[in-house]
Amino acid sequence: MTIQFAFDPEWMSVLTAPFMVNAIEAGLLIAVAAGIMGYFTITRHSTFAAHALAHIGLPGATGAVLLGLPVSLGLGAFALGGALVIGALGKKVSEREIATGTVLAFATGLGLFFARLSSSASQQMQSILFGSILTITDNQIVGFAIFDALLLVVVSLVYRPLLFSSLDEQVARAKGVPIGAMNVLFMAIMAGVITVAVPAVGTLLIFALVVTPAATASIVTRSPFAAIIVSCVLCLASIWGGLVLSAMFPTPPSFVIVTLSTAMWAIAKIVFRNR
């Protein structure tokens, strides 16, 4: 077997196809959501909890297909449920890796079980796990846009208390920041971001889209606001770069997106290794 990265001379026409236009628009909306929340995920040390949410959403996604409901609905509902439980238990719990990891594994298994119950869910399994950015519909884009608008409003309202409580929960609590509400709110928004980002790269690869660009941004910038902007830009560069490259050299977009995101992080790590 040989691996071929054959150049597709018709790639420009692929890029202008309606499905690709949708993917490009979705990419922008996903990058805004993932870039902003990725930064908070890192400052709150909740990266593993965020990763787990995607897996907790998996049985919701395959279960929804089983019941003939939209994938995003099931995914969102399960992720939100998981988020509210983790959020209510407090930030310390999101750092409990063993409990989170166990629930994550169980949820993934349950997702597989639901998928095997029907052939249509079985067919969708791969795209839920690894993403299918090229099949995003107009309706999904409208949903993403509404979510992004909400996210921008909410985050701009709670920006400082959210950051303050990320830095030191004890101090923030003493100063009157409602820590419990911040935790629940953060996790709930995170569930929304996961629901929006899963169609791009799937539940398995989501870490590289939500957390990795924000990690890179934290390496190259020094202020939270700059880190958020850079995080969004890097996330967008990964998605758009992934779409263009996968059109030029036919490969799964998810693979290229994750590769770009990882490469940028690795380069930043090497260049700024002394910092």
Partner: protein, 307 residues
Amino acid sequence: MTSPTAHDDAVVLHDAAVRRGGRLIWSHGNFAIPRGTVTAVVGTNGAGKTTLLDAELGLIPTSQGDITVLGRPAGQSNQRIGYVPQTYTSGLDSTITARQSVILGLTGTKFGIHFVSAEEKRRAQEVLEFVGLADKADYRLNELSGGLRQRAAIAQALACSPELLLLDEPLANLDIASQRSVVELLARLNHEWGMTIEVVAHDLNMLLPILTGAIYLLDGHPHYSPIRSVLDSDLLTHLYGTRVEVVTTPQGDMFVTPNRKLEPEERLQDTHDVREAAHFHEHGDPKDGGTHADAHIAGTKAKEMNR
């Protein structure tokens, strides 16, 4: 800052008791910390030192009695209190810069869109200069050494111009030079800004030169005592459960040192379980709290019960 008077104490406990998860941490807390003083909170591990700070901040309620901080019930004056928890480990992987952290100390409770004002930036710079971090203000917290990170944490607490500064083990995990510079910083805060400081400490040695008094958590009761009374070999020995000696040098400095020669091999360790200790003696008269003789007797009693 007004001069300390009996009616102007920074922290007043009146027959206060605190429970955590149903178990009694300490009870019969009766003391007053005068304004403008530096007070250490000492006691063995688990004696409830951090709990005392939490109670003063109103983060946990008293199960009995009351706590008044800066003239109001605990928890209501927190905007006028600077709080530095044990941040040594939590700051390890923080990518936020020292300056950002101080600015958050000023703006972190503000909901809504808020742009950092020139006045807030000026205040942050002033505080960073005071703690000696001006040249490293734009370093990330995870790029600073333990001592500098502790100073950054203090700077954040100072940003809101507090009247009372609470610090939890600010010298833990620091090398001697860093410990000294943090102590010097606290001394300057007390002298130059008139700040009332309450500091939880394991090792009194470093803090001794600047202490006015100490709250010692012995036998499950917090007591306040002027520093000269606390510095009693027998009391400290009971307090720490190991032989401690007080030495007065010609310069008048006093040191507390564990002395191996004085500690017989077969000596039973005088450490006792805190839950046990909390119930050792139920002295209901709030006026009796805080004399060192009382603590001494209590310590002896505890020793007897231990054997």
